[in-house]
Amino acid sequence: MPAREVVVGSRIGLHGRPAAIVVKTAQAQPVTVRISIAEKPPVDARSIIAVLALGAHGGDTVTISADGDGADAALDAMAEVLAKDLDA
């Protein structure tokens, strides 16, 4: 399954505005994107509650994965928003 590691670019971490943007981006994808951090099991990136529960801080590395048609494009889109400082 295509997967990718991304460093969280939002200084404040994945909550507030950055978390909302990441979740909305995931919701816009044709495939399910899952996201995980460290040893925690991957969660559905379309769930704001699950994304907040990652507790990801700025500079943390997260892993995103997706399967099926359009998985690579979905990962590109997700990696782009995750790496940006969305609170800037």
Binding site: S10, I12, G16, D44, A53
Partner: protein
């Protein structure tokens, strides 16, 4: 009613009748037998909450709108819906299923601590709305007494704060810390606010209360006194806004007021320069240190925006608690006491020398008066080594931050080899009081009025006076109008804060002579604890 004291989180004084938030619905003690349509009812309740929060978010703007939209996303969340459905499948009625599912999720958030833990309040709010809908009882929410009032609450949710209108004079909450929604909203609206005020929900509705968001004191007053206090508060505000220009005491002693910024966008016209330019933004999310040329242009943008004003740039402040992957720092058991701030140069010296080179190039190209300081310095040897690197890079003015008690105690030795120091009160409090900054339970220990912390500030100020070198403050405490006077009285030479704090601080200085400030410093230093110190200075 005896006076109550909480933590003042938004300055100003006002008074009026208190009215408490509508209480959240209570689930009946007896769990009813689940009906056949519990799942549909739960879905409808959550959909109602999601759409009403979404609608609410369109009636406000800025941060409040974003917060509400996020909360609406939580109500519509698939993870939550699955958890609720699982409990309904176990035979729980809808209202109970939602309460249980949210309770479990709240535990996860709380375990993460800090900002994430505060999202537990957002979940509690949406649970209350969903349960009120299911039980067909009034929605919890803001009182509408029809007169200006003091709002009392357990803690405020984003939905509550978004709905506050101009009839709210001040906010007092039983829980909450300095980073709660209540505190943030109150500061942005200029409403006096007190959090962590234990007895506030026991006060009967309609009781006239005075609220002092500077001292944290909440007291019962007569209706007539309430009116006088309110008018005096309005007059104070108008007076603060009318005073402009450089910071100075009533007798004309200059105390320059500077800004804390993270980039050119934070720079206001007000203020006599930048007292803290945080440079982390350039380094976050990078897999390698940003090239010198890129750093140079970013620094230059800020120096140019500052015009000829002074800019104090802080070199990279990273560590295991604010990790940067390219530094390759190991995980630490106790990151606050580990490789952070200037200490990262022990493992990656090139990151610092390249940053200094970029700063030097940017400074040469502009008119700004550029000062450079290092974070997290503990010894005079570290300070001297840093100063020589700064001077070698071709920069004139080198200093260090005083955040570690050892550095405060050895300020004289440190100042002998640097051109200035700047005190970071947030970390200095954390290290002096041995209390984690992120731990809301320890808010009282982190109170910047702790006399032991003030004593260290005074020690540094005295060293600066003796050696005739500048000693600034760039922590949150500099934005507290009363503490600003105390610091000036100790001999602190500049105060740096975020832009909204400037007018009240400027006004407080303008209404005290330097002799007054010295007397206030004396009162604060001689107090036995933080509340006494604050009270003595407010009354003195």
């Amino acid at each position: 009613m005896p006076d109550m004291t909480g933590l003042g989180v938004s300055p100003g004084r006002t008074a009026g009748p208190v009215h408490a938030m509508g209480s959240p619905p209570r689930l009946p003690a007896e769990v009813p037998v689940a009906g056949p349509d519990e799942r549909e009812r739960a879905t409808a309740a959550l959909a109602f909450v999601a759409s009403s929060l979404e609608e609410l978010s369109t009636t406000v703007d800025g941060t409040a709108a974003e917060v509400l939209a996020t909360q609406a996303m939580m109500a519509a969340d698939p993870t939550l819906a699955d958890a609720v459905a699982a409990r309904i499948a176990d035979g729980r009625p809808a209202a109970w299923a939602i309460t249980d599912a949210i309770g479990e999720q709240q535990e996860t958030f709380k375990a993460l601590g800090g900002y994430f833990a505060e999202r537990a309040a957002d979940l509690a709010d949406l649970r209350d709305r969903a349960v009120a809908w299911l039980l067909d009882v009034p929605m919890p929410g803001l009182p509408r007494p029809g007169v200006p009032f003091v709002l009392a609450a357990d803690d405020l949710s984003p939905a509550d704060t978004a709905l506050l209108d101009s009839s709210v004079l001040a906010i007092v909450t039983r829980r909450g810390g300095p980073t709660s929604h209540t505190a943030i909203l109150a500061r942005s609206r200029g409403l006096p606010a007190v959090v962590s005020c234990a007895g506030i929900l026991d006060v009967p509705d309609g009781t006239p209360l005075s609220v002092d968001g500077t001292t944290g004191v909440v007291a019962q007053v007569t209706a007539l006194e309430a009116m006088e206090i309110r008018e005096a508060g309005l007059a104070d505000r108008a007076r603060d806004a009318a005073i402009t220009g450089p910071g100075r005491t009533a007798d004309g002693e200059s105390v320059p007021l500077l800004l804390n910024v993270g980039g050119a966008a934070d720079l206001a016209d007000d203020g006599e320069g930048v007292g803290l330019f945080r440079t982390e933004f350039l380094f976050l999310g990078r897999t390698a240190a940003p090239p010198v040329a890129e750093q140079e242009s970013a620094y230059r943008a800020l120096f140019e925006a500052a015009g000829g004003r002074k800019v104090v740039l802080r070199t990279l402040d990273a560590g295991a608690d604010k990790p940067l992957p390219f530094l390759g720092l190991a995980d630490e058991e106790n990151p606050a006491l580990g490789i952070r701030g200037l200490r990262t140069a022990r493992v990656r010296p090139a990151v610092l020398t390249e940053q200094l080179e970029a700063v030097s190039r940017a400074a040469t190209a502009t008119d700004a008066d550029v000062w450079v300081m290092a974070p997290m310095v503990a010894t005079a040897a570290e300070a001297a080594e840093f100063a020589s690197l700064v001077h070698q890079a071709g920069l004139r003015t080198a200093g260090v931050m005083i955040e570690v008690p050892a550095a405060a105690l050895h300020a004289r030795q440190i100042l002998a080899s640097v051109d200035f120091v700047s005190i970071g009160t947030n970390d200095l409090s954390q290290y002096t009081m041995a209390a984690d900054r992120m731990n809301g339970e320890l808010a009282d220990l982190l109170d910047p009025w702790q006399p032991a912390v003030l004593q260290l500030v005074a020690t540094v100020a005295a060293a600066g006076r003796d050696l005739n070198k500048p000693v600034g403050i760039c922590g949150e405490a500099a934005g507290d109008p009363l503490l600003a006077c105390v610091f000036a009285g100790m001999g602190i030479t500049t105060l740096s804060m975020s832009a909204p704090s400037l007018p009240p601080v400027r006004a407080a200085l303008a209404s005290h002579t330097m002799a007054d400030c010295r007397r206030l410093a004396e009162l604060a230093l001689n107090a036995t604890d933080a509340p006494t110190a604050r009270k003595a200075v407010a009354g003195g």
